[in-house]
């Protein structure tokens, strides 16, 4: 009976998740490119061997992790500050709530175009400002060393509201009398933040990190439109590499392999996170 009732959901999951995954798995053991006339030809583990020796793959892995790590960390910090601000009642809170949510409501492609214009060298408003101060225009989008930070900034701007919203829900689930009891025992508001708010917010923060990390590790549209992976591949991510392999180089077998490599990476990170949470929960018991 239980099986019967969960069958529709299971079927749907199988259709949208298991089937593509299995198909990718199958494809990653085939050559399927222009050379094979776009027909899948089994090639053993050649794709996987190539992946392990592919410097571009490893460079993109580092760049993807660097992007995801920094943006999720910043989103968590800024999101927490925003959530705390929105939790306490003050004049203008409703207005701020609306403004805060706007970036989240905007399509990524639109906002990526916006940022590309803002940081345009030399015509964007930021460089106009820089030049008005008498400084030379800065290569925001053409410096291999620092352009990835602009991508981080755009991502933080867009997705912080999501983190703030999750954390706000968490804040509102904490009963006020805990703070009253704490104040009666001599605790200051700063101590309450550390001793009550943050520990009780931890499960919500975990959820936010899990969601955001999964999204950030698979980031595609933002990078594609803002920088196209450049300059010199310095902002290319794994998802973009997989897309290019398939759509520009027409190497579908290898594209599937890159995608699966990313999947394994994500799986490993999630496992570490979940284990970390269990360890933390155990440590507090």
């Amino acid at each position: 009976m239980t099986l019967l009732l969960t069958l529709p959901a299971l079927l749907l999951l199988a259709l949208v998740f298991a089937v593509p995954l299995l198909r990718y798995g199958w494809l990653s053991f085939h050559a399927d490119s222009v050379i094979t006339g776009l027909q899948p030809v089994p090639n053993g583990g050649a794709n996987w061997l190539r992946l392990i020796e592919d410097e571009r793959f490893w460079q993109d892995t580092v760049q993807t992790l660097r992007f995801a790590g920094l943006s999720v960390a910043l989103e968590l910090l800024v999101g927490l500050a925003l959530a705390l601000l929105l939790h306490h009642s003050w004049r203008g809170r409703t207005a701020l709530r609306t403004i805060t949510l706007l970036p989240w409501a905007l399509p990524t492609a639109v906002m990526a175009l916006g940022w590309r214009w803002i940081f345009n060298d030399p015509y964007g408003p930021i460089n106009a400002l820089v030049q008005a101060l008498g400084l030379p225009a800065l290569p925001f989008l053409s410096s291999p060393a620092s352009t990835w930070l602009v991508v981080v900034l755009a991502d933080v701007w867009k997705t912080t509201p999501f983190v703030a919203l999750l954390l706000l829900a968490g804040l509102q689930s904490i009963p006020t009398d805990l703070y009253e009891a704490f104040a009666l025992e001599g605790g200051t508001p700063a101590q309450a933040l550390r001793r009550i708010t943050l520990p009780l917010l931890l499960p919500y923060a975990f959820l936010a990190v899990l969601f955001r990390l999964a999204q950030a590790l698979g980031v595609f549209d933002l990078v594609q439109i803002l920088t196209g992976g450049g300059p010199a591949g310095s902002t290319e991510t794994l998802a973009l590499y997989s897309y290019l392999s398939a759509m520009r180089f027409l190497d579908f077998g290898y594209s599937a392999t890159v995608m699966l490599g990313m999947f394994v990476l994500l799986l490993g990170l999630t496992a570490v996170l979940l284990l970390g949470r269990r360890w933390l929960a155990g440590g507090r018991a």
Binding site: E180, L184, E185
Partner: protein, 331 residues
């Protein structure tokens, strides 16, 4: 230094609280001596919890003063009042063990580790919570949680105990057991105790004196016995004593009332009454009677066999008289 003796205990002087245009508490005066247990009793919305929150410093009064052992604490922040409070919801920290729930306050105040450990152990033992010391609130029963809340108030050795309906979330049997425990633990110590409840039985069982509040005003303050025997007005007479007092219609500016336990069946004459319902309670029985003045309640010995209809009488000395307009008791 000076020879003047400072007044001990808690004193409220003309305490008032307005929320918008709403007068929640209207000029409350009362005092609680060291070691005395005062119950604030009244229906919901009467201002009893407001009073408690003002004493704790969680809300600010619009007017009036609060003194503790002679010090004016009206404007002091809650953290400096040294108050041990038990919340209706218990307000236990869900992420901390029983032990850490108790120690957190003392850690904040920077007490030495050994002293914290010693104090916690003695309180846990006193409240028989030793086996639960490493559990978290979610793993405790309702009664255990209540005792942890109590322990947390006790362990800080406060100058004053405040309890906000601490037993309203417990079942009847547990409530009875804890009532005795609470009385032994809190009352008779050096601190004044203020206990908020809407349960008159609880108030009568626990308190040395009861303050009855209604619509933000103090109706009467006195020992449980005074409140029962000499209620200041019709409201107190109706609120104290279960089952409720029976009230006769106003006659020449006077309302007479008789408690159910003072009614007796007469051989002849009296107020005609017909039995509607009979609730047998072991030693006693509770009767719902239909009389010319509406539904009356009567309590008598459980073994008495009564007819379906009989005449009701009562000793004139047991009758209470109230002024028709104001509801004040007439002497």
């Amino acid at each position: 230094m000076s020879g003047v003796q400072r007044p001990q205990g808690l004193v409220l002087e003309g305490l008032e609280r307005r929320v918008g245009s709403n007068l929640v508490l209207d000029g409350l005066n009362l005092s609680v001596a060291p070691g005395e247990c005062l119950a604030l009793l009244g229906p919901s919305g009467c201002g009893k919890t407001t009073t408690l929150r003002l004493i704790a410093g969680l809300d600010q009064p619009s007017a009036g003063r609060i003194r503790l052992d002679g010090d004016d604490i009206t404007r002091q922040p809650p953290s400096r009042r040294e108050v041990g409070m038990v919340f209706q919801s218990y307000a236990l920290y869900p992420h901390l063990t029983v032990e850490r729930n108790l120690s957190l306050g003392m850690e904040l105040r920077g007490l030495p580790r050994e002293r914290i450990a010693a104090q916690i152990s003695s309180v846990l033992e006193l409240l028989q919570l030793e086996p639960q010391r490493r559990r978290r609130p979610a793993e405790l029963s309702g009664g255990q949680r209540q005792r942890v809340a109590l322990a947390r108030a006790l362990v800080r050795q406060p100058r004053l105990f405040l309890l906000d309906e601490p037993m309203s979330n417990l079942d009847a049997q547990l409530r009875e057991d804890l009532r005795a425990e609470l009385r032994l633990l809190l009352c008779g110590g050096p601190q004044p105790v203020v206990y908020v409840t809407h349960d008159q039985q609880e108030a009568m069982g626990l308190a040395d004196r009861i303050a009855v509040l209604h619509q933000g005003r103090l109706q009467q303050i006195g020992s449980p016995r005074e409140l029962y025997d000499q209620p200041a007005n019709l409201f107190v007479a109706g609120f104290i004593g279960r089952p409720r007092i029976n009230v006769l219609p106003a006659e020449a500016g006077c309302i007479r009332a008789v408690r159910p336990e003072h009614l007796e069946p007469l051989a002849e004459g009296g107020l005609p009454a017909r039995v509607l319902l009979r609730e047998w309670q072991g030693a006693s029985q509770l009767l719902q009677l239909e009389t010319p003045h509406g539904r009356w309640r009567m309590v008598c010995d459980g073994r008495v066999e009564l007819a379906e209809s009989f005449g009701l009488g009562w000793p004139p000395a047991r009758e209470l008289r109230f002024e028709a307009g104001s509801g004040r008791r007439l002497h």
